[in-house]
């Protein structure tokens, strides 16, 4: 076995895994605050990437301006979705809300294909492209830099969740809505905040993913793998999302290289099945006590 090659494949997988982790954090934030499993997450990511593409390529804005606009656009998208679609579904069965997000993902794909057509495109590159070596192992510079960016963003958000007032309010709402409301936390505002933050994270992840793999109207598929990640990590656990993101990215990349490309998704969904059968609440999730 070629250990150097194995190491390189693992590094590439971890780089991709960081993107999974970033998106999974957005997923978990929404789930914790509003108990919604957002199946449109992959499509929110896609919309963020396309907004960046639109600002940077079509309007020919400088990269940094396009990036900021895409992030703001992503956050706005999250806010609007929460206010227009998710809020009215409050109190409906979780399944209905889940299916609403499926509908939303279809709407987003349609929008993107109408505005930008279904043809795959590549984003203007903005990450440094000098080759990077860790020891002897080569890492694609885009993968490396997106890993670094994802790690920094996640770290910033972990600090915010811990110390910022809004982050504390979010965690309080997650653990007990009624009590949080009683202590003067504006719970509906927290809902909006969570969706806004998640939209922002998703747009960022979309731009990073797009700069690695290009953008197309099918990149929302990424969201399904993220779904696997959050289930494996535990739906309401940020730590679980991070570890499972890296794990799934790593396993997927190993499976893709050693078994063949078609096994990538098979392996992740197999993992999902096993976790659902043995430990449905995930590695770090809260175990809900219900026996049937």
């Amino acid at each position: 076995m070629d250990w150097l090659f194995f190491f390189e494949v693992s590094l590439a997988g971890l780089g991709f895994g960081a993107l999974y982790a970033l998106t999974a954090v957005a997923f978990v934030v929404i789930y914790k605050a509003t108990r919604v499993i957002n199946l449109a997450m992959g499509e929110m990511l896609m919309l963020g990437a396309y907004m960046f593409f639109g600002f940077a390529a079509a309007l020919a804005l400088p990269i940094w301006a396009a990036l900021i606009l895409a992030l703001v656009g992503g956050a706005l998208l999250g806010l609007i979705l929460e206010r227009l679609v998710i809020r009215p579904m409050l109190g409906e069965s979780p399944i209905s809300v889940f299916m609403v997000t499926i509908g939303l993902s279809s709407v987003f794909i349609g929008l993107v294909e109408i505005i930008w057509t279904a043809a795959p495109r590549s984003l203007p590159s903005f990450l440094p492209s000098d080759p990077i070596f860790i020891g002897d192992a080569f890492v694609a510079p885009k993968t490396f830099w997106s890993f670094v960016i994802a790690a920094v963003v996640i770290a910033v958000f972990l600090v915010l969740f811990r110390f910022w007032r809004g982050g504390v309010a979010l965690r309080a709402t997650a653990s007990d809505q009624g009590a949080a409301y009683g202590m003067g936390i504006n719970v509906p505002m927290v809902y909006s905040l969570a969706w806004g933050v998640a939209g922002l994270l998703a747009a960022g992840a979309g731009v990073l993913l797009g700069s690695i793999a290009g953008i197309s109207s099918e990149m929302g598929f990424f969201g399904l793998t993220v779904l696997v990640v959050v289930i494996v990590g535990g739906l309401d656990s940020v730590l679980g999302a991070l570890l499972a993101g890296l794990l799934i990215g790593w396993v997927e990349s190993l499976a893709g290289v050693y078994l063949g490309g078609e096994y990538e998704h098979l392996v992740t969904f197999m993992i999902l099945m096993v976790v659902l059968l043995l430990r449905p609440w995930g590695l770090f999730g809260t175990r809900e006590i219900e026996r049937l």
């Binding site: 979780p94 299916m99 509908g103 709407v107 987003f108 998704h265 098979l266 049937l292």
Partner: protein, 347 residues
């Protein structure tokens, strides 16, 4: 309850058609189904066959999701199992058409039972996600089990033959698929007059109370999966015969979402809902196509817009119905009927 139709037995009160008027309407429906091929052209017959296939599958999904409360996003993959069973039998055995179709149903039932196993452990959203996983695994099998499915090249199926007749056109195929559809829908409607059907509804409404009432939850959940898969298998078998060739791309996850959308739009937990939903969702893309044809002279590349507009409208329908009309078309139908019943006393 209508005035002037007293019942003397419980059986009479529970029957499918309770009044003479309902029988008359049912007769008119059957008659118009029988006359339809003589007035419709090939295009509309094609649509009618497609609608029937979708009705069978949507009815199955409604039994599972609408009546038993187990959300499944694997209906299209199950249809794929049925279609591949038919295709394999058609190419490797000389069994008659009816037997192939039944084999498709049975085979899919078995696969559905395995795919339903997670329902014993998880429920609700987790189950929906498990069925997504199951449908990806089935997709993988379709692509990679070359010796049976011929991989991405796809597989061809001869048109079905019965009594020496060949059903290779929508105008002949219609006579095969419509009677089976009527039969399957009536079977489904009757299911909910039996202990099994009532148990399904009890499981949906509150699984814990159902289990306290003596309903064996694992058994009935699996049974619901089995029945839904059987319907999907039959629909998939017809699909294979109807289109004459299938490949792994024929049964994407989007198609499962289509069926879920159909029963949401039609109405969860009503037989009428599965019919209305399947008709509506099959015809909507065709309507959009007319719209695009109208736009053609005014908008550049209007035909290129068709597929994205379909996707968009499809999503808007799901979101719109869930937000504004959660009981679907069946509820609208009931409202319209009630209006006429009560007219002119209430307005």
């Amino acid at each position: 309850m209508r005035i002037g139709s007293p019942k003397e037995t419980y059986a009479a009160d529970e029957s499918l058609f309770r009044t003479r008027t309902q029988w008359v309407w049912f007769g008119i429906l059957l008659l118009s189904l029988a006359l339809y091929p003589f007035v419709a052209n090939l295009y509309w017959l094609f649509l009618a066959c497609l609608i029937c296939i979708n009705i069978i599958s949507a009815t199955g999904l409604n039994i599972l999701t609408g009546y038993t409360g187990q959300v499944s996003l694997g209906q299209a993959a199950f249809m794929g199992v049925g279609a591949y069973t038919v295709a394999w039998l058609d190419n490797n055995a000389t069994t008659p058409f009816i037997l192939n179709l039944l084999a498709a149903g049975v085979m899919t039932t078995l696969v559905g039972l395995v795919a339903g196993l997670p329902s014993l452990r998880v429920k609700g959203l987790y189950l929906a996600i498990a069925t997504i996983a199951a449908s990806f695994i089935l997709q993988f099998v379709f692509i990679n089990w070359e010796s049976v499915t011929r991989g991405t090249r796809g597989i061809n199926i001869q048109p079905p033959q019965l009594f020496g007749m060949e059903f290779d056109n929508p105008d002949t195929f219609y006579w095969l698929v419509v009677p089976v559809t009527v039969l399957m829908v009536i079977l489904a409607a009757n299911l909910f007059r039996t202990r099994v059907g009532r148990a399904f509804i009890a499981v949906r409404d509150r699984d814990i109370s159902a289990s306290v009432l003596g309903i064996n939850l694992p058994l009935y959940k699996l049974m619901s999966f089995a029945i839904a898969s059987f319907y999907a298998g039959i629909a998939g078998g017809f699909y294979a015969y109807f289109f004459g060739s299938i490949n792994p791309e024929s049964f994407p996850l989007l198609m499962s979402i289509f069926f879920l959308a159909a029963i949401i739009v039609g109405g969860l937990g009503t037989i009428l809902g599965s019919i209305l939903g399947a008709v509506f969702m099959t015809l909507t893309p065709e309507l959009l196509r007319y719209g695009v044809d109208v736009l053609e002279p005014f908008v550049q590349d209007a035909s290129a817009l068709l597929s994205p507009v379909r996707t968009l409208v499809f999503g808007l329908l799901i979101v719109g119905f869930l937000l504004f009309e959660p009981h679907g078309l069946a509820e609208i139908w009931r409202r319209v009927r009630r209006f006429f019943h009560l007219w002119p006393f209430r307005n």
